[in-house]
């Protein structure tokens, strides 16, 4: 239901066209994949079928018909329900980074070198995000970047701890 409720969240600010919804989504969530128009319209069709949005107005000026959508009362209730619900902590254990590190430790390849290079890559990603956050004025954009930064930071701390353990194990051999 995630994309649907996210679009409901945009519509809570007022009626909007599919194009505006895509733009607002991409601005609110700069770290996630940009929406395809097809996805937006498919989702709107579903939301309309379920009575969560309704057609606000349809206009035509030269080009194709443009429909603006509005959130319904039922849609607002659904949005509030979603906002009040907690989320399951994500499944992180299957991360490729973790699999690769564990495999490297098993096959005794250069885990230390890998961990060090990976740290540099993570820190560079954090550096770029930190720079774009400094320019972000909207609180939503900042907290979206903060979320990615926090995860990268958690990865980095794990990389450092792992490297410490690897070096200590090698040192005690």
């Amino acid at each position: 239901m995630s994309l649907g409720t996210v679009l409901l969240g945009v519509l809570a600010d007022g009626p909007a066209h599919g194009y505006d919804l895509k733009k607002a989504h991409d601005e609110r969530f700069p770290a996630s994949k940009q929406l395809a128009y097809g996805q937006v319209y498919a989702t709107l069709t579903r939301l309309q079928r379920d009575g969560l949005v309704e057609t606000f107005e349809t206009t035509q000026s030269g080009g194709p018909e443009r429909t603006a959508y509005a959130i319904t009362e039922v849609g607002r209730v659904e949005l509030d329900r979603w906002l009040g619900e907690t989320e399951d902590p994500g499944p992180y254990a299957a991360d490729e980074l973790v699999r690769k590190t564990i495999t490297a430790l098993h096959v005794k390849s250069d885990a230390d070198g890998f961990l060090r290079r990976q740290r540099a890559v993570h820190l560079e990603a954090m550096r770029e995000l930190t720079a774009s956050r400094a320019e972000a004025e909207e609180i939503g954009t900042r907290v979206a970047i903060d979320h990615t930064l926090a995860h990268l930071d958690a990865d980095l701390r794990w990389l450092e701890e792992t490297r410490d353990r690897v070096l200590r194990t090698e040192g005690s051999r």
């Binding site: 540099a120 820190l123 954090m126 400094a134």
Partner: protein, 231 residues
Amino acid sequence: MTAATTETPLLSARALHKTYGSNPALRGASLDVYAGEAVAVTGPSGSGKSTLLHCLAGVVTADTGAITYDGRRLDELAPDERTRLRRSQFGLVLQFGQLVPELTAAENIALPLLLERRSRASARAAAEEWLGRLEVGHLADQRPPAMSGGEAQRVAIARALVTSPRIVFADEPTGALDTVTGELALEVLLSATRATGAALVLVTHDNRVAAAAGREVALRDGAVETADVAR
């Protein structure tokens, strides 16, 4: 942000060794700092980060090794000459601000200028200007115990920058602050050094702070880790 290799570093340390009792804190650390850049010095606890910073800032003398600042060997200067150079060219920001608790914010900031024999009036004016720039003008007559951690750190940043240093050393400047307050203090430190063109050497164990600098120098066991990080 990485400086071109043809440029001469503003500050250059070579093969620094420093031992406290039988504890080696630095074991051959080398580092270059270029004018106007921001460098984060990172590493696990006990890796020698703070010792390196204190050596670079001329607060502590290394046992062996060379430190060159703007073409002059810092480690070969007479102590009073080094102190003079440090006061006029270097700024220092520490974890807990280290403000003088009996003095007001304005007096704390004016202190380095008074030590340089500037008049009271002009030192006070410069202090007030910096308080205004860092948006804490209202604290001018307050004493540190009455300030929040974030406010005290802004005053400490103002004190470090009031002499227009060419290089600012910061040792865990956000270490005593919560995330959001620390982030604001860091932004103030970065934008103030950027605005004055000062280089910044920042010791931190916090990756998010390190990511705000243009470049990282990672220490381990008292030496800089080789930078063979293919990307």
